[in-house]
Amino acid sequence: MAQVSLNKIRKVYPNGFEAVKPISFDITDGEFVVLVGPSGCGKSTLLRMVAGLEDISEGALSIGDRNVNHVDPADRDIAMVFQNYALYPHMTVRKNIGYGLKNRKIAAHDIEAKVQAAAKMLNLTDYLDRKPSQLSGGQRQRVAMGRAVVRDPALFLFDEPLSNLDAKLRHQMRIEIKALQRRLGVTSIYVTHDQVEAMTMADRIIVLNNGQIEQIGTPAEIYHRPASTFVASFMGAPPMNLIAAQGHDGRIMVGDMALASNNIIGPVTMGIRPEDVEIGPDCEIPFTVDIVEELGAHRLLHGQVDGQDFTIHVAKDVALSAGPIRMTIKPEAMILFDAQTGLAL
């Protein structure tokens, strides 16, 4: 268990591509940090630099109080869970889990005890003598977890560990991993491009885009106070509504409608979560419903406000069909972004 600190970490691949621009952040002891961002934004690169699988081009990385820039992966006191599990195909589950311990000169009976304990925790006891090819995807995932857990490292690294599982299993494993991490209290960095995973698992989320940090914050902060239009549209399903507006005379105008009051002048992007909208016959803003998306627990109304796409989240008992309705937005939930830079104002 340890805190981790990244100081102006940068990655330039040999072909000259700068995959990670100088990035700094600290992770406190026992914290679960999720790196999230679109494909190719540099999440894996960053994680692999922390693991020591990729050279750090510039900057300083420390795990615990030790600078580990030039420390071998095996000596960084980390354990990693790979997307495709990376189990040793020729070793039994028992050997897979115990291999890292064996190389750390731990006595055979201690290894066996630790492997047994890890297997019990992960419901793998019956499979210890099987080879990975004789396991289901979910079981392989558990073995990969077991391999990490058994080492009792200072830091867990996860690179999209659940993306090869089906939706149901993913949901279940999400909860299990989080519970396991809570119980063991091991500092963790978890990479995913699934924003639901990020929201549900993280103590803190780091949103990456183009090798840069867009925002660092708790899931609630990221969700309710996105720092940029990128974060606003990346996090949340459906994403935040972003519509072009004008600040004018103390009001925010969309077309010739005043949606909210604010003293800003000039073009802005207005952001509002679909659930922060109310509908009713007395509301002031006209809205045309094009499609009603039935999701069981609730419904989504997709339509247009002044010709711009807009989505409203309504309760399951609101019976509606396509056509004109009226809505109003909760002023305290509205976020204004700079129309040019996309940054929150």
């Binding site: 693991a51 020591g52 699988l53 071998d72 992966p73 095996a74 000596d75 980390i78 354990a79 990693m80 790979f82 997307q83 495709n84 990376a86 189990l87 040793y88 195909p89 020729h90 291999y99 890292g100 190389n103 080879k131 090819s133 391999r147």
Partner: protein, 293 residues
Amino acid sequence: MKRAGFTTRWLPILLLLPQLVIIAVFFYWPAAHAVQSSFYLEDPFGFGSSFVGFDNYTHLAQSSEYARIAKFTLLFTILVTFFSLALALVLAVKADNVIRGAKTYRTLLMWVYAVAPPVAGFIGLLMLNQTWGPLAELAKSVGWDFKLGVNFADTAAAMVLVSVWKQVPVNFIFFLSGLQSIPKSVREAALIDAKSSFRRFWDVTFPLLAPTGFFLLVINITYALFDTFGVVDVLVKGEPGNNPMTLVYKVYVDGFRGNDIGGSSAQSVILMVLVLALTIFQFRLIERRIHYT
């Protein structure tokens, strides 16, 4: 898998016919002939032959020369197979670590493969020539008075050297592709689990290469036993005398030099049985070939 069917019965047979004819003419017919000849004693001057039953075989079994050559062949096969595989594995592991210019190295190493065995033997002859061969001089400079074609051990060493040199590229290519088919993430997991590259190689890389290794083992044994004929022929310069030779070469020497067709045929039959056994072993192996994923 989808199977495409032929509408007529005779079309597939017709398509296979050229291959079948070739196999029959160049393999079954000579093989049958050899089996038959092995039971006859041929007059050295070509005046007919007489049936002698298993005499040719019992002669071989009692022949101390045949036993000596068989022993040498065994040793030769072990040495060639071991060094071809070991050197190729070392080179493949090294080449696998190279990222820049890997293709060039690979092509350069593959070149040797394109050299025909007799040509390889001839190159060996030049390099090891007693009076002016650079390798022979190198040997002399370290105090080894290398006498190709005169000293039994020296000639044997040359045979092994040239045969190994010729076989390394094939093994190299197989090993390299074997190495490259090991998932990158598995190696990375090993990098986190084990600090020592020696341990990683023996615990992870080597076992995952084992299927390739078994396959190559059989290929190399077959090569050392049979395909080294050209190398042996050039190096002993058709003067078997006191020089080392392999069983296959002895078939040729006895049959075509000694005109002992019967004895030579019996030797071929023994070798055929050996090949058959090796082939069966290989097929068994491939059937059971460990598929890890």
